[in-house]
């Protein structure tokens, strides 16, 4: 089992899509649960990659390849996840705020949270505050992630936070993106800020009180 999990992690980092599909199928056939595959195989690998990324030792191409590979493994596990009713660790609502159509950073954050066992509801790009609220109503997520690449759109983050907090004053937010700083996050009432995708999960876990 441990060897198989190590191999899954190594394959994820190597970015071998075909191999990870095969290894995931083999693990499921051998009776390993999707939760175990995620937590013992994929998650440690993603965490170590995220840490290397935050230290400047890994770069976007490696993250993107790992994301693609992880997606392939998740697709293989999907029927078993549905059958087994595996509960996610937490639910996150994620989107790039209105006016901003950039998605690379947001997609990397999504991948890191999925790798950490979160269910991520991705509202995509250019998301209006009203749409965030509508999805918040429906999904009741543990955490809301807001992304923005442009200085001209970061003001929208505050709007989303205010809109959702009118409905739920306890709503938790993590913000990130090129123009965002800790000071800005504090000013708009976000619960946390992550300077990069690698650090985002740690901050998110802290916000919602999970490890």
């Amino acid at each position: 089992m441990n060897e198989r999990m190590t191999s899954l992690g190594e394959t994820l980092l190597a970015g071998d899509v075909e191999a990870i599909k095969r290894l995931t199928e083999e693990a499921l056939s051998a009776g390993t649960t999707p939760q175990a595959i995620l937590e013992k195989g994929l998650r440690p690998a993603m965490e170590s990659l995220g840490e290397r990324f935050s230290r400047g030792e890994a770069f976007l191409p490696e993250l993107l390849v790992a994301a693609e590979t992880m997606k392939a493994s998740m697709e293989v596990m999907q029927p078993a996840i549905v059958r087994g009713g595996v509960a996610p660790k937490a639910t996150m609502l994620l989107g790039t705020v209105e006016g901003d159509i950039h998605d690379i950073g947001k997609n990397l954050v999504k991948m890191m949270f999925e790798g950490a066992g979160f269910k991520v509801i991705d509202l995509d790009i250019n998301v209006k505050a009203a749409r965030f609220l509508e999805a918040y109503h429906k999904e009741r997520p543990d955490l809301v992630g807001l992304s923005s690449l442009l200085t001209t759109t970061i003001g929208e983050m505050e709007k989303v936070i205010q809109t959702i907090r009118e409905f739920d004053p306890e709503a938790k937010f993590i913000v990130g993106g090129a123009p965002v700083t800790q000071a800005f996050a504090d000013r708009i009432g976000a619960n946390g800020y992550a300077p990069d995708a690698g650090k985002a999960v740690k901050v998110g876990n802290r916000i919602i009180g999970r490890s």
Binding site: G15, S54, G56, A58, F59, L60, P61, E62, L64, V65, E68, G99, D100, I101, H102, I104, G105, N107, I125, N126, L149, L150, T151, T152, T153, A178, P179, T181, F184, P195, D196
Partner: protein, 366 residues
Amino acid sequence: MRQVLTGKERIMKALDLAEPDRVPVFEMGINEASIVNLGKHFTDDVPPVKHITDMDLEEQIRYMDLLSLILKELGNDGISTVFIIRKERVGEDLARDKYGTTYHLSEAGEPVPVEGPVQGVGDIAKLAFEPDPGDYAMLQYLVQTMGRDVAHFFAIPDLFRLSWQLRGGMDKLLLDYMRDEELVFALARVTTDFCKAALKMARGHGADVIILEGDLAFNTSTLMSPDQYRKFIKPYHQELISFCHEQGMKAVKHSDGNLWPILDDLVEVGFDGIHPIQPQCMDIKEVKGHLKGRAAVVGNIDCSFLLPFGTVEEVDQAVRETIRIAAPGGGYIISSSNSIHPGCKPENYIAMVKAARRYGAYPINL
């Protein structure tokens, strides 16, 4: 008393890493809404805000006249122009350029490529990827209206940006770095050839400096690893910069973000200046110390928070401090830390330029 130089002489001297009579003022981009907002400080006759690629010729001329007026009033030493490439609308928020890249349009920022004509190496031979002489109208017009006493920068997307535009997204090219090197090299070849032809034409129309735009970094590091930069981009940068110098022009690299991991490489390939040294990502004092005598520093006045949200007094102090650090010894051109986007207060930009005059006279005694 130093001899008073023209704007162009001032810029060229700074790019030659010497001290001009005063710190030159330049801006890489002043976006359409900012032109209108700044224009209101100098004239009542301003056009409605519109994206330049959606304008007809008459509207474009009105904008370029207003930009010329602003730059003359402010007395900027270097101005920057770009290709005006018309895009055909192919959906509510989508437009396609003549090379086959489809962009998602946004009022708040630059269009983002979402689909490109190159899916595999076989598509490259089918591309008609050459600069269009008809796309230099902005450079040609501004050379006429501004004359030759200012330095004309012409901004060309560099091979990295052109490659990911042709692929229809930066993530696709960065995945290619790991999965399809043949395609990466083929794209680098065709885009480098495009850049060489483009900068040669720009020279013919009066450009003095080429600014190769296209981010290579984000806030905390480079987008690609230094090894990937050295493998997939650096040799082509070297070829481009040599060619640019042969044409009698200077070359400046523009990239947002933290360029430290490849800063020495950019100097090694021969860039004459590095722009814009975002204050959130790189410390101007460290960069100046590192680049002194090797490449000019261009930029650093914060357009993320200071110019949009700061006061005129804060702008004045930031300019003073930046000049104190970056200008002694020469090799510094002041500009914002990216461009004058719609979020920047026009009065803050005007204050920035005025402060550059107030504190920028050589020798710097601040």
